[in-house]
Amino acid sequence: MMPFAHLALLMKLLCQVFFTLAVLSFLYRDNPIYRFAEHFFVGVAAGYWIVLQFHTVFLPKLWTPFVQKGLMGQGIAPEESRFQILLLAIPGALGLLMFAQFSRNTSWLARWPMATVIGSFSGLAIIGFAQGDLIPQIQANVLPILRPGSLTRLGAAPAFSTEQLWAFLDATSYPILTIGVICCLIYFFFSTEHRGATGAAAMVGVWFLMVSFGASYGRTVATRVSLFLERATFLLIEKTPVGGWQVRNAAVTAVVAAAMIVFLVWYFRIARREAPAETQ
């Protein structure tokens, strides 16, 4: 008889493989296995958030201090004030007002907590964007026309060598940053028409924007490939230790995939004859 812990591990592997393949089956077409997995996931995710908030915020930050220290007066540290702890009733009450959302008559009360959240994040955003983004980025772009020493480097590099290419690129870096940022800012300037010099600058600005989108595209591709790569490694290459022995994930994958294919063939050939046509 397999110990319970091992059975749990094996079941976990089975579930992991099942849910991975269930999502991948969407690539063939929308199907009941995918829909089941997706709906189950939505439920699990919602439950996860509630439990998480309960354990990390509600209990330690609100319930325990308020009830134990505030109401019962137990275990108040010398540097804490009981009055301040009792003030936790304010965020508690504002939080509870969220529930007012669920009734049409009281839903306006739910705006109170939303207003505090939006106000706080607006305040933090103002400071963050002004102090962390705007000023340092402008500051970083206050540059001389050429990087000091880059011309000497370019002159010293042998002609038609890769070294010369790097020296050239290095020499262009300050002009590119200066011209690029200025031209892009002109592109996003809406008070004058793009004609003549402004028009030309705006056009150069769009070029820089396109290059920067190209970079984003290239890096997005990299991330997406990595994500599937990790899943493929999990399904086909990895081994899972269960007790003393190593289970090959590929074997589990083969079994689960075969079962899924049988089900899908049955579903699309037979069961769906009467069903209404699906989208996609």
Binding site: L24, H39, G43, H55, P91, F102, G119, V211, F213
Partner: protein, 235 residues
């Protein structure tokens, strides 16, 4: 009152977080016995954490209705509710009697009962996280590897000079940003790193400056009550 109080709250908390940047936290803490800023920060954590109740409330409402009315596809909704129930039971409900008895801290749960302890290693809750949440979420995003490739073949079209610039930069990073690129031409790492650090940074920096101005002006308008659209309806 329906509009004034929310607007006042927005103003109050917004200006608090702005002004904290221009005050000395340590001195303020001494002067107020820790009320400012620490207590207010905790308050915000508490209120934000309640907003998640809303999300779950919506999930519940939609899916309970579907199941109750036996609407088309109600079986899937039942699966959602089952997932929600499993997480709530193992993460929360089984745990409540233990938690309140033990100062709300999972560390004090007696040995042999770890499976009940919410988010700690070895709990059933964590088992669900590993077995369902992790594979589902990572595979959802992995699907995009395929969607991006089909879009690349069927809809990525170089129809203008601008699109050509985008395509050339993208291709350069796609083939040059991986080790095989270095095998093909040893200069790729240097070239891609120049593209990333200089060439594309110019555009990104301008976007950053523009986005910063946008965010600041939106924030200012919200705090001062000029922009009220978040209270529902158009401004």
């Amino acid at each position: 009152m329906r509009r004034e109080i929310p607007l006042f709250l927005t103003f109050l908390f917004g200006t608090f977080f702005v002004s904290m940047n221009f005050l000395q936290g340590d001195r303020l803490r001494e002067a107020t016995g820790g009320f400012l800023p620490d207590q207010i920060n905790d308050w915000m954590s508490i209120i934000i954490s309640f907003t998640y109740v809303l999300g779950v409330g919506n999930v519940l409402r939609i899916h309970v209705k579907k199941v109750a009315r036996r609407e088309n596809g109600w079986g899937y909704s039942a699966a959602t509710l089952a997932g929600l129930a499993a997480m709530m039971i193992y993460g929360l409900i089984l745990w409540i009697p233990l938690g309140i008895a033990f100062d709300g801290q999972p560390a004090s749960v007696e040995p042999g009962r770890e499976w009940m302890t919410g988010m700690q290693t070895g709990s059933v809750f964590n088992w669900f996280y590993d077995a369902v949440y992790t594979p589902m979420q990572s595979t959802m995003y992995a699907l995009l590897a395929f969607f991006i490739s089909s879009a690349a073949f069927r809809a990525f079209r170089v129809r203008s000079f601008q699109a050509a610039l985008l395509a050339v930069t993208a291709l350069l990073l796609i083939v040059g940003g991986v080790p095989l690129g270095e095998t093909v031409w040893s200069g790729f790492p240097e070239l891609t790193s120049w593209v990333m650090e200089i060439l594309q940074t110019a555009g990104k920096r301008a976007i950053l400056i523009g986005a910063a101005l946008g965010a600041i002006s939106t924030g200012v308008k919200i705090i001062l009550g000029v922009e009220k659209s978040y209270l529902g309806g158009r401004a």
